[in-house]
Symmetry: C2
Subunit: 273 residues, 2 copies
């Protein structure tokens, strides 16, 4: 998917919501457990209930991998029921040397036909470049939403400017490919630093986790982070897909997604440059 | 597997060889392509031919993941034919926030029963700690063998000592758990820095890729890196498993593994402190 197509979707739906499909077999509503593939059935109903309110779906690959081969089958089937105009993100956080990165790119872009994959930066350029492919996207970890982001991402560098490591990651990686093929993960819990992110990468899209359960503010991240093409995909996982654990889970998921979409519609009016 | 059990294996086999199972379906010998599961059949024969010469096997997860669900089946079957006294490494380079890291730990330690998994440090403590489990190991990326290791791992920090980032990764993470549950990836191509690694983590095991195809020297890494319990697992993938592409692939793999084992026997005599 191109950046223009993504922006069109955002304008059409008045939404930059990404729904995280962190589907845990232990948290499924009872009544789904008798179906042939409960994880897929859950995802299918969530997608049906939210597809007009969001512009992206982000399966968290760990949840599928933990089920062994059956999990990969659930994931494949899930991808097949996501409408073609919705952006898909394999939240896999891969990162390995060149020849191995090529295989991860094959796994997510060809075997599974995702639009994008999240990638860790620690191993540098040759671990990221194999994911830079036409109409596909690398989403590189920059400043994550978890407490561990303090351990290394926020280390200051001896570079004369005392930049943080995450700033150097942004600066260096932005040269590896066009803003049409790269996004960055920036946690909503890091609103204090989003201006620093925008100073370095004004035009890139940011994938923003951490709203909701992790405590980040949708308004703050929207006010500070939005650019002329919106430039934000804000993810919510648990807050939407586990809004209810009963037979009404899909209906409640829709309500939660609708509440976020309405808030986003407001911020698009206010902050779209 | 405990550190003592691993060291016993090393002494018994006079080897600290890890065979990397980077099994690419495109590189399999012709005569295996008719079998039901060629990737598994290749691995089975490689394992049979090398199990008395090595102390660890390291499937590179990308190679299996790229095959979709069938790849995970090949991987499961491969794990089942590795003798129980040999250390197993899921070379997966995972790294995600706490609740997700728990699922990756479940995928590799429970669903697949690996002894260890490689993990990327960028997301910090909460992305690593869920892998610290009794008799299991985290193998954390510190200084990798690829050219991209220069991009971030070798950045100097504003910490008064101008340490490299990889040194801070070692220093910080060594406090997260005991040396019985953590190893570090240090590339054989980085022999110049191995003394700095040993100054910070004298007792930890190092998993060393990059000998062979990538140009690292087994002698250098052994001389500088070996400690009282050996403290090294040196990996070779392509140099062993693709020593021949013909019907004699297993025999030639054994010859390549034997040559490395003999060299290692010599270094154990010379350098075991």
């Amino acid at each position: 998917m191109t950046r223009e197509q993504l922006f069109e979707q955002i304008l059409k739906k008045k939404s930059y919501l990404c729904v995280g499909l962190d589907t845990d077999p232990k948290k499924l509503p009872q009544h789904l457990l008798d179906t042939e593939d409960p994880v897929f059935e859950f995802n299918r109903q969530i997608i049906e209930a939210t597809a007009d309110l969001c512009v992206a779906y982000k399966p968290n690959i760990a949840f599928y991998e933990a089920q062994g081969p059956a999990g990969w089958v659930s994931l494949e089937k899930t991808l097949q029921v996501i409408p073609g105009d919705i952006f898909t993100i394999a939240d896999a956080k891969r990162g390995d040397i060149g020849n191995t990165a090529e295989l991860y790119a094959r796994a997510f872009f060809e075997t599974l036909n995702f639009d994008s994959v999240t990638v860790a930066p620690y191993m540098g350029a040759d671990s990221v470049k194999p994911f830079l492919q036409p109409d596909k996207w690398v989403i590189l970890l920059a400043l994550t939403s978890n407490t561990g982001s303090q351990d290394f991402q926020m280390l200051r560098l001896e570079d004369g400017n005392e930049e943080y490591l995450f700033e150097q990651v942004l600066r260096t990686s932005a040269d590896w490919g066009p803003a049409d093929q790269m996004m960055y993960v920036v946690g909503a819990t890091q609103a204090d630093y989003v201006q620093r992110v925008r100073d370095i990468v004004p035009n890139h899209f940011l994938l923003v986790p951490g709203v909701g359960a992790q405590g980040g503010s949708l308004e703050d991240i929207s006010r500070i982070g939005m650019n002329k093409q919106c430039g934000l995909l804000v993810n919510s996982s648990r807050g939407i897909i586990y809004a209810s654990s009963g037979p009404d889970f899909a209906e409640k998921a829709r309500e939660a997604a609708l509440a976020m979409q309405r808030e986003m519609e407001q911020y698009l009016d206010q902050y779209l440059g």
